[in-house]
């Protein structure tokens, strides 16, 4: 059925004058569950089926999407895409040119052990309620929250060049949060990460492995204990970040600046541009020699939210060096933009939220490769520093220079030991100065492919999941504490 709909859309687009067209037919199924203070909050299942047609006509782009999957509905949609392309041509400076790509005919499925949609909902709720109850056993917890989300996406990509790519992706995520209000202060702790926990291209086995119940008590106790912890000092310090915070630091200060559409000004009105102008490719010392970052969408990198067989232009998943031993070496590209940096082929990063959105250059898995340090050794090697865990706030300017992050909890390190808890940790800096101050990255034993499920970009806004492999890392001479200075 999907192929029939795709063929009808492509045939209509060509008949109306498109010189190139591709179509994505997507069938999404989703389940969301949450609890708050012992009560089920959200309990929702949803499905959405539709197609989006992208065309080039008169040398310009048009896109239309519909969920009316009748012959009339699909023909109307494809015809509208062509009409829109002709309108785009009214403000055209040059014709769209796409880098060549061999049309693939293939199937790809993300591996998983246990289908989360086959796990009874009541069993999933029981697990969440058990974690919820564990958190509330700790005096001082004012709100206990838990959640799970599962998404199965089946997609057919077809193009007038002959591509026919069928992919199925299964995504799971889960997490818990304990909040504690006392007098004039609200503290919280999340596990295994903020933003709903950990998310990956996996099945229910992810939920079972992260052991929400087993971590609930600790998380709750830390949330309450933060009230009595001293404030994170203001000044310049050595900072150690846990893997999840390193992952978000990579996302904001490396992942977004390397999007070539941003660099070329295509996102100037909303997400912004990038300090990484084209002259910096191959010349900018982005980071210290301890830092190597890749964009890797291949399954062998891991089951991240940026893992797939093919991107939404039909380009196979690839691995691209972004920073090699500190030197800036690569952007994220598309078939339209690759030529801007002299590449003959896209490195496969065009992704769309669903059938009703246009593919954009998006992060895949942007990962900091592991170093050699064991975390205990790194702490022991730190005379005076602060170890910060789990993101709480994040902000960066529209060219991705100046950032500020807050985390849920910090630990003061003195003489190679964690000596006491600190509340309200924060740090700030300039992207390249910060990454050049990195002098240690922990080993693969500490490395996790974190999932960021809520990356926003584009107009209309699209929310995308991205992956970030990261291990704890150390940074010198970092400004800390200014977020709370009075």
């Amino acid at each position: 059925m999907m192929e029939d709909w795709a063929n009808l859309a492509l045939d209509t687009a060509v008949a109306r004058g498109a010189t190139y067209a591709d179509v994505r037919v997507i069938d999404v199924r989703q389940r969301e569950l949450s609890t708050k203070n012992g009560q089920v909050g959200t309990l929702v299942e949803g499905e959405s089926l539709g197609l989006g047609v992208r065309v080039v006509a008169d040398g310009a782009w048009g896109f239309a999407a519909t969920d009316r999957l009748t012959k009339q509905g699909i023909e109307k949609c494809a015809a509208e895409a062509v009409a829109i392309a002709r309108a785009s041509a009214l403000a055209k400076l040059h014709d769209v040119v796409l880098a060549p790509e061999e049309p693939a005919v293939d199937t790809w499925q993300s591996p998983f052990v246990r289908d989360p949609f086959r796990i009874p909902v009541d069993r999933q709720i029981d697990l969440l309620l058990e974690a919820d109850a564990e958190m509330r056993k700790v005096a001082g917890v004012t709100v206990a929250e838990t959640g799970m989300v599962f998404r199965r996406l089946e997609q057919l990509f077809a193009s007038t060049a002959g591509a026919r790519i069928h992919q199925v992706k299964m995504q799971s995520g889960a997490g818990i949060v304990a909040s504690s209000f006392s007098k004039d202060e609200l503290q919280k702790r999340s596990y295994p990460n903020s933003f709903g926990g950990q998310h990956a291209l996996r099945g229910y086995e992810l939920v079972e492995e992260i052991d929400l119940v087993g971590n609930a008590r600790r998380v709750a106790e830390e949330a309450v204990a933060l009230h009595k912890a001293p404030q994170c000092p203001e000044g310049t310090r050595t900072v150690l970040l846990d893997g999840s915070q390193v992952g978000l630091q990579v996302h904001e200060s490396i992942g977004h600046p390397i999007e070539l559409d941003r660099v070329l000004g295509m996102e100037a009105n909303f997400a912004g541009t990038s300090f990484l102008t084209l002259d910096k490719l191959g010349t900018l010392p982005y980071a210290s020699e301890h830092v190597t970052v890749v964009a890797d969408a291949r399954l062998e990198h891991g089951p991240g939210l940026g893992t797939f067989g093919y991107d939404d232009e039909g380009v196979p998943a690839q691995s691209t060096d972004i920073i090699r031993d500190g030197l800036f070496t690569g952007y994220l590209t598309s078939r339209e933009t690759a030529a801007a940096i002299g590449e003959k082929r896209s490195n496969g990063t065009m992704r769309a939220e669903s059938w009703n959105r246009l593919p954009l250059i998006r992060m895949t898995n942007i990962s900091l490769l592991p170093g050699a340090w064991k975390l205990d050794d790194l702490i022991a090697d730190t005379d005076d520093g602060i170890y910060m865990e789990t993101n709480r706030s994040w902000s960066i300017d529209d060219r991705r220079y100046h950032f500020q992050f807050g985390t849920e909890i910090g630990w003061e390190i003195k003489g190679g030991k964690k000596v006491r808890m600190l509340k309200n940790p924060s740090y700030s800096g300039i992207t390249t100065e910060f990454w050049n101050s990195c002098d240690a990255v922990c080993s693969r034993d500490h490395w996790t492919l974190w999932g960021t499920p809520n990356c926003g970009k584009g107009q209309p806004m699209q929310t995308m999941g991205t992956g970030h492999g990261a291990a704890p890392a150390r940074f010198r001479n970092v400004r800390v504490g200014i977020a709370f200075s009075r």
Binding site: S34, T35, K36, V40, G41, T42, L43, V44, E47, S48, L49, W61, F63, A64, A65, T66, D67, R68, I84, A85, A87, S88, L90, A91, L93, V121, D122, I125, T142, F181, D184, L186, E252, G265, M266, N269, G272, R357, L358, R392, S393, W394, S395, D397, R399, Y401, H402, Q404, G406, S428, N454, C455, G456, Q459, P460, T463, I482, A483, F484, S485
Partner: protein, 494 residues
């Protein structure tokens, strides 16, 4: 990263009780007050083709209610048609349109409730989604806080469907873009932006006889001008496309970009700031959930322990008012309760919160028509904030300032401390030094870390309140503000 508008996106209608499947079907065939009001607006033929026919919505509602075996059933049908023309580097580079429908069914069985949704509207799919909601509901413990669904309600009329907006074509949008590009080309600048138009239809019905329908249009134009290393920005959002003047917005963005050339760096610190309405909007928009009774009950509102106390200045008065002529949205909430105008802050004193039905019962208050669709853990939220304005123009604010910063807008605002309500973020697209009553050139952008409670206690002057559009908060009615001691903590490189 995370879009902040999710609660608003999920917020809308919803519903109520049992006996009335027949009544609901009958109700579904009758024009409703809101629909009557909308129907008074004459529709052009071109506009009508963008709407899902009422007969089709009625069919979907009646079929779901027929298929449902639950004790109570709620049906929400959302239909949208949106188009967006996007330009950058003085050319249209993305140009999209979409139409879609969502049918969401909430079932109540044995004191339990759950929701399932689909975008397939054939009988088999509608029967399946009804079954799915029933099945999910049965798989959970009983809810302590579940109320019977609502029956028939009356809503004040709102007319928010504008045929000219619905009828806008890709060529119409492209022609407006061409004029903006021409301006950029003439001035040797580069422009980027969007021109979007859309129609949405929202229906909420229950097996107890409630039937609520709302339709509205939306037009939005946002434009950035780049001039060497500088930028300027302007944006407008209205239901009526005729209120949007792309040329004037482009002129403003172009001027700001030119005036922002060669910004100088001045030290971070506490400054008097003059905040244009989009800058105000994107800051105060972070307060909206603090006015939810559930947030205060959960002790995660900055108003916890502060209700009835004077924490803001005398000049700060805030309502939630969906009926305000500059507001948008339906006259009913996610449970089908008629929305009320609520005085949230009266001359600096937080006076009232908003309540969903369940929250109101729990806290012995009255529902205000701000409930989010059930089931949810958030309760309610005010989505139509209106700030009282003043009479001081932005020019007068500048003229009265010895030293300060004029801010066009903020960017990437996030909450640092939920109780002190400290927000962080950056200035963007036009940040200027004011000296001796005059704009004295552009300055490099600042990072701020500023408590909203302290800021709203430090407002020295207000201008007339306008409908404002930003990127961090949904549209509200806010005035420009002059604020003392605003905390800029660091400076970036541009």
């Amino acid at each position: 990263m995370a879009p902040r508008k999710s609660k608003k996106k999920t917020a809308r209608k919803a519903a109520a009780k049992k006996p009335a499947r027949k009544a609901a079907r009958k109700q579904a065939r009758k024009p409703k007050p809101a629909a009557k009001a909308a129907a008074r607006v004459k529709r052009g033929a071109a506009a009508v083709r963008y709407l899902v026919p009422r007969s089709e919505i009625d069919r979907i509602v009646s079929r779901v209610l027929k298929f449902s075996r639950a004790e109570e059933t709620e049906v929400v049908v959302d239909a949208t048609t949106d188009a967006l023309t996007r330009f950058a580097n003085n050319t249209i580079h993305q140009n999209v349109a979409e139409q879609g429908i969502s049918v969401s069914v909430r079932a109540v069985v044995n004191g339990r409730t759950a929701r399932a949704s689909t975008n397939k509207t054939d009988d088999e799919s509608l029967a399946r989604v009804a079954r799915a909601a029933e099945r999910l509901a049965l798989l959970q413990p009983p809810s302590e806080n579940l109320l019977p669904m609502l029956g028939k309600q009356k809503y004040p009329p709102v007319a928010r469907f504008f045929p000219a907006t619905a009828a806008a074509t890709p060529a119409d949008r492209a022609r407006a873009v061409v004029r903006v590009v021409d301006l950029a080309t003439r001035r040797e600048q580069t422009t980027a932006g969007i021109f979007a138009t859309g129609v949405s239809q929202s229906t909420l019905a229950t097996s107890r006889g409630l039937f609520a329908y709302h339709e509205q249009t939306r037009a939005e134009f946002s434009v950035t001008f780049l001039d060497g290393g500088s930028s300027g920005w302007a944006k407008a959002n209205f239901g009526d496309i005729s209120l949007i003047d792309p040329g004037a917005l482009a002129e403003s963005a172009s001027r700001k970009a030119r005036e922002s050339l060669q910004p100088r760096e001045i030290p971070a610190g506490r400054y008097t700031v003059i905040l244009e309405p989009p800058a105000v909007l994107d800051l105060v928009g972070f307060l909206f959930y603090d006015f939810a009774a559930t947030a205060v009950e959960d002790k995660r509102s900055c108003l916890t322990g502060r209700m009835g106390k004077k924490i803001f200045g005398d000049n700060i008065t805030i309502w939630d008012d969906v009926y305000h002529p500059l507001q948008a949205g339906a006259p009913f909430d996610g449970e089908g309760v008629p929305r009320q105008k609520v005085l949230l802050v009266d001359r600096g004193v937080p006076k009232n919160l908003v309540y969903a039905r369940g929250t109101a019962k729990r806290l012995k208050a009255k529902p205000t028509g701000h409930g989010l669709p059930l089931p949810n853990e958030w309760g309610e939220a005010p989505l139509n904030l209106v700030f009282a304005g003043g009479e001081t123009s932005t020019d007068q604010m500048i003229a009265s300032t010895e030293k300060g910063i004029l801010v066009t807008r903020f960017w990437y605002i996030r909450e640092v401390d939920p109780y002190r309500k400290i927000l962080t973020g950056m200035t963007r697209d036009g940040t200027f030094l004011v000296e001796n009553g005059k704009v004295a050139g552009a300055v490099k952008n600042f990072r701020f870390n500023q408590s909203m409670i302290e800021m709203l206690a430090s407002v020295e002057a207000l201008g007339p309140a306008v409908r404002s559009a930003g990127e961090e908060s949904f549209e509200m009615v806010v005035p420009p503000m002059k604020v003392r001691d605003f905390h800029f903590s660091e400076v970036t490189k541009f």
